[in-house]
């Protein structure tokens, strides 16, 4: 039986409505209402894409489901201590999924921190005061930069972040010299820096 926060609606309608909720809405709902329905909404909104992300690194359907589930269970468990001012929730989910993928599918020690860890680890004087306002702007700019990248740069960046390929593996996949792969990645990175420069 679903436990719904809204009382007078049929379950199906409430779920369809809630799956269009934004991430911060979903997070605050999780914090207030720790029901199966809230988790289901979270899973409906993010599970399918996390599943694809896991399969890109070779997980079969079953493992991909488990890792997508584990990613969102982590979100669920830490939602109460996650501070939205420290970064966007989608970036936070990305770092959780990335680390689980490396740990379980590559069996490498994970040196990357989750955004909730690395920001809280910063000495407070290093945090810009206008961090919160900044966050939304940065996300918008990042999306614009990706949209404007030439296709050969989008390709290498996708292969790195989504397919999880190292420089050498990208070079092999595209039959390109390693130096070409690195310089394309570097060019994309420089565009990102340029686009965010004035927000620093």
């Amino acid at each position: 039986m679903l436990l719904l926060t809204t009382t007078a609606q049929p379950a199906g309608k409430a779920l369809r409505r809630s799956s269009r909720r934004t991430m911060p809405d979903l997070l605050s709902r999780i914090v207030i209402d720790r029901s199966d329905a809230a988790f289901r909404d979270l899973f409906e909104a993010y599970g399918p894409r996390l599943r694809t992300f896991m399969m890109k690194l070779g997980a079969d359907a079953h493992v991909a489901d488990e890792l997508a589930h584990e990613t969102l269970v982590t979100v669920w468990r830490k939602a109460g201590i996650y501070d939205a001012s420290k970064g966007s929730p989608t970036t936070w989910i990305y770092t959780i999924a990335r680390n689980l993928r490396i740990d379980h599918l590559r069996r490498r020690r994970v040196w990357q921190e989750l955004t909730d860890e690395h920001v809280s680890a910063l000495p407070s004087e290093d945090l810009p005061a206008d961090e919160v306002v900044n966050e939304r702007q940065r996300q918008v700019r990042v999306q614009a930069v990706i949209k404007d990248l030439p296709p050969e740069q989008v390709e290498v960046v996708m292969l790195a972040f989504v397919e999880g390929l190292a420089h050498g593996e990208i070079a092999e996949r595209l039959s390109l010299p390693l130096g070409t792969v690195k310089s394309r990645i570097r060019l994309a990175y420089q565009k990102l820096r340029l686009a965010l420069e004035d927000l620093r």
């Binding site: 599943r51 069996r107 020690r109 999880g164």
Partner: protein, 216 residues
Amino acid sequence: MSHSIKHHPDGATLVSYAAATLAEPLAAVVACHIAMCPSCRSEIADLERVGAALLFSLDGQPTENALEPLQRADRQYPQATPSSARSSDRLPSPLVAVYGLKMDSIAWRRLGPGVWHHRLALRQRGAGDLRLLRIAAGRRMPNHGHGGAELTLMLEGSYSDSTGNYRRGDVQDLDEHVEHQPVVSADAECICLIASERPARFKSFVGRITQPWTGL
């Protein structure tokens, strides 16, 4: 501290770190550098935003299996971890956290006159080589090239080569084509964390350190 860091990892290295595609030893060095360098830390945060934008631009694969219910344990909140977990040791906090090391209690092994090392275990076998290296003041390293990427993070003292002077927090990010001959400053020994993609290269480098050489 941060304002004095002049040498940072290459942009392509930072991208690989944020995408978690960097070999384990190289990722360890970048993690230690960003623990000391707020500006690279913020670069990584931006690159993670890129990762998030790309992940959430994917088409979703609807799950075929029934959604597993939450377990009782999943429902509990974890305690907020105090950020005091950061170390005050001279070693970067990721090394302290992963290996339980302290700067003043490293079990150094002598490699040759004026050179000591401490090897750090990796989870992934054959993934390369990660070690701390301690070199006496004034030592000149043999001229050497690199097979595969090599990252060096300076922790104590300094060294110079034709590309500049490296001090605490600085990273030297070298690819396979670079040859260099670092010289440790005359006033103090240097301690650095060095990661190499190919373990064999380090052995040949060590071989040359420990051999007597001319030209000093």
